[in-house]
Symmetry: C2
Amino acid sequence: MDEFALIDRFFANRGPVRADVRLGIGDDAAITRVDAGSELVIATDTLVEGTHFLPGTVPRSLGYRCLAVNLSDLAAMGAEPLWCTLSLTLPDGAADWVGSFAEGFMELAERFEIALIGGDTVRGPLAMTVTVHGRVDPGCAIRRAGAGAGDGIFVTGTFGAAAAGLASLRSGDAGAGSVARFLYPSPRIDAGRSLVGIASAMIDVSDGLHVDLARLLAASGLGATLAIETLPLPATAEPGRAVELALTGGDDYELCFTVPADRSEALELTACDWDCAVTRLGETHAESGLAWTAAGKTYPLPATGFRHFGADVP
Amino acid sequence: MDEFALIDRFFANRGPVRADVRLGIGDDAAITRVDAGSELVIATDTLVEGTHFLPGTVPRSLGYRCLAVNLSDLAAMGAEPLWCTLSLTLPDGAADWVGSFAEGFMELAERFEIALIGGDTVRGPLAMTVTVHGRVDPGCAIRRAGAGAGDGIFVTGTFGAAAAGLASLRSGDAGAGSVARFLYPSPRIDAGRSLVGIASAMIDVSDGLHVDLARLLAASGLGATLAIETLPLPATAEPGRAVELALTGGDDYELCFTVPADRSEALELTACDWDCAVTRLGETHAESGLAWTAAGKTYPLPATGFRHFGADVP
């Protein structure tokens, strides 16, 4: 058995055991059961060294983060996590590295009771692809399209800390408080699930609040004009760059969603149980386009938001 | 919209349309429906340049092959293909390259009516990860474990042509007849599905017949002693190396399976409809281990079979 087969065994029999998994790692494929009256929600995301994370990033963060960014997609649909697969491409099979990577991955898998049911470990430039599966009641998944004119626009948490953390890592300051927000984002699974039947549209914010909210509005055929004074900024934000980082920084993995006026009370009730803040940014309008104001005047945005693949990280 | 977003659009609205896909590419996740009375079969495989294929490989083959190797895993479980996701890591977003890649991918997707429901396109060293989903009736998936002592051992097709094709490619002879067997393997979906209720255990042969049959036997707690004279070799095989390539060459993506004696007739009946040969290699025995004979004497194998990640391809 070679080093990569050993790594596969390292991941087998780890993490949550679920009754709906009939066969996990070790055969040509996994076998799962789906309850009648469920729809499956499926998402996949890849992280590549030099594009999505800096060379030398601690392996525990990579293991955690490659699952977190995928769970965030499930959160944005209002789905309950079920199972995932992991494809890990490694330059070599260093056992220590893989041990820490698996620790980060399994920490998050345990928290959200998502079973690792299969995968692949191959040699090549460092990268990881995770595919996640979740469930919703039929017709209950929350899409980007679905917002109505006049719906309130809300976000979870704060914006800009992950981008500030990445900037600190780039400049060699791994001790900055915001670094953890980049390395260990919190997928908003509980908030997302509790928004089923309340939110009319939802997206997770991975590429920056401006770009992702604009996507939601475009999918719903709407627009909005919002005041930057409403943006929830991290307590530690640098005043000079806070708004720019919040709007275009990326990697926050918060939720952005719309709620019709007659469900505002339901939102208030359910948000009491969340472990994160919820902030109302304003409301949608029928005219398309997303604009921002500062002290009532148009706030000019940089031409483009954050794009992972627009430029390499380092 | 940047080049990678354009590529994503290139894959959207392509390939088979399925009634069980409620939402495909374009949101945070896809939404699918699963019939009551189904179990899902899920597999994932990654191909990396320099490890699984030579630099400069024609993109149509890469698109075809990254789906084919995954469909082969579904075939080995006896599953019916449903949906897949594709994560494509590209050094740049060359439109011509992506067009040919998508052509190869969609050709196979159409043939097996598997819907592309989501994915990710990112910048980085050339690689592709596909995750496939299939269905079986509850409890009907064919695993590696399950063979009984005395069951017949069978294979589809012939062995060794893919490895011969790879060797030709390496030596610059892209015109050799066997090259197509490496570039465009045929996943044995129809044969695999028709073996439900007939085969007691099954595996697809990706790493060489010896290694993969040994895995099936080990999972079933059995062994076998087989004569190399029974091996189905390609008509064009080089006599000197044919047996070694057949046993250890890899990349054949044929099926290897066991059938209890009382289902041999059922196998004969169903195999009439296949578009590939079926060959009986011998039978399992209770003692563990897989050995080969030539003219009745022990046939010595090379120490290890083909391992993608044991050595780089070039």
